[in-house]
């Protein structure tokens, strides 16, 4: 018999005390070669920024390989661990300094795995931030191609001068598509 999973609970308003740390959102140092900024806003159902949300990303390297490297909590400035965490500011904005992940298999669409936590959100949400650009790979992606256009749009980041913009809408007409993986029960 498989054990039943421990229930989640909200991260609450004071998560910075336990979860934030120095350079938590800097997967690579700002200004380093190939550095991009992945930024966006976490928005509630009224379109207001969520000032007490936490966004986590987990991603491959630009060549599509996955780091098995400790050091996310004490960044040494050169080890790429693939993991980062950013808490939102007063207007709901978060920002990471990272590198663009490559596809983990040739020809597949590249994306960052994203987990979202917030006060008022009773359990974490999973989503994906796909990178724009490789239109053939995006069109062939099993998840994206199964979604209607308005939903698909919520999962693809937009390129800007510094990197990518990926807004996370918790609720509302343009609500982000959130994901459930096998084995996860209500």
């Amino acid at each position: 018999m498989t054990p039943i999973a421990t229930p989640g609970q909200t991260v609450g308003p004071f998560f910075h005390l336990g979860l934030s740390y120095d350079r938590d959102s800097e997967l690579v140092p700002p200004g380093s070669p190939a550095a991009v900024v992945l930024r966006g806003r976490v928005l509630d159902g009224d379109g207001h920024g969520v000032p007490d949300a936490l966004v986590e990303i987990w991603q491959a390297r630009p060549d599509g390989t996955i780091a098995v490297e400790p050091g996310s909590l004490r960044r040494d400035g050169w080890t790429f661990t693939g993991f980062g965490r950013a808490s939102t500011g007063p207007d709901g904005t978060y920002a990471f300094t990272t590198v663009a992940p490559g596809p983990t298999e040739p020809g597949r669409a590249a994306f960052l795995a994203v987990a979202v936590f917030a006060r008022g959100l009773l359990n974490r949400l999973f989503t994906r931030a796909y990178l724009p650009g490789d239109t053939a790979a995006l069109a062939a992606d099993p998840l994206l191609s199964a979604l209607p256009e308005h939903a698909r749009r919520t999962l693809v980041a937009e390129a800007d001068g510094q990197g990518f913009v990926f807004d996370i809408r918790l609720r509302g007409p343009a609500e982000t598509v959130f994901l459930r993986y096998p084995g996860q029960r209500p």
């Binding site: 987990w58 974490r124 918790l170 096998p182």
Partner: protein, 264 residues
């Protein structure tokens, strides 16, 4: 009465929240379908109203990156990080207590050498956080944040101070049951969990919409640690035991390869 607080008269009384919770509880018991996780849509927790998705999550098979998890090691965590009672000039005020247990994946296997993070209020119910306005004393000898790595059998262990309950403004005279916030990683990113540990017998359980958002009584009881006299130590600290089971597949890419590897 707290003289600094904004008048609370515009907040709803506990009775309004309690009757909403009772109605949701009756609805759940009548539905006959077992739930195991909190509802994201749980109106008695007022902050959830604008912050829960309107649509159900989309079922998807994890891709390669999602079947792996971030790696943490001795470089990330100092062994002293697991003792929240040290690192200050003196000893913190409160009931010294040890909380320990195992982190298991969805197949019941231990999650080895993986990160567990906790944060909490002090014994007076106050967080060492700039946004906590509860007029209870800060403790100069207590910060309330800890980390550890699980061992090769999935065990974590923290020494800390039992937190106090604290008021919040969900409604008038709202109090959270005493709790530790836990953040846990598994062997796959899909197993990521943030939750709260509670202590047995808390009189605030029935009144708290965050705890009650897990509408199944057996499911919410999984967040309550067990007093364990074998963890309690002579003339030193009380002890609690709490195991954490992660959701989703505990599959490593290697397992997946072996299974997908055709033929066999």
């Amino acid at each position: 009465m707290n003289p600094l607080a904004v008048p609370a008269r515009e907040l709803e009384p506990q009775s309004v929240i309690s009757s909403e919770m009772a109605a949701l509880d009756a609805g759940y018991r009548g539905a006959g379908v077992t739930e195991t996780q909190p509802r994201l849509d749980y109106p008695p927790y007022r902050s959830s109203l604008a912050r829960h998705p309107g649509r159900a999550a989309y079922d998807v098979d994890p891709e390669t990156i999602e079947r792996c998890a971030p790696c943490f090691g001795a470089r990330d965590v100092d062994p002293l990080d697991a003792d929240l009672t040290v690192g200050h000039p003196g000893a913190p005020i409160g009931e010294r207590t040890v909380v320990t247990g195992r982190v298991l994946d969805g197949d019941g296997r231990p999650v080895r050498r993986q990160l567990v993070e906790i944060w909490q209020a002090n014994a007076a119910g106050r967080y060492a956080h700039g946004r906590d306005q509860h007029p209870a004393p800060l403790d100069p000898n207590f910060t309330g944040a800890g980390r550890c790595l699980t061992d090769d059998d999935g065990w974590y262990r923290f020494q800390t101070i039992k937190p106090g309950p604290y008021p919040w403004r969900n409604h008038r005279n709202a109090w959270r049951p005493a709790h530790l916030h836990f953040s846990v990683f598994g062997t796959a990113f899909t197993q990521r969990l943030v939750t709260q540990l509670y202590f047995p017998g808390d009189p605030l359980f029935a009144l708290d919409p965050i705890y009650q958002s897990i509408v199944d009584p057996r499911a919410r009881d999984r967040l309550v640690a067990a007093y364990d006299h074998d963890v309690t130590s002579h003339e030193w600290a009380t002890g609690y035991r709490w195991d954490i089971v992660l959701t989703g597949p505990g599959q490593t890419p290697l397992d997946a390869e072996a299974q997908d590897g055709g033929g066999a």
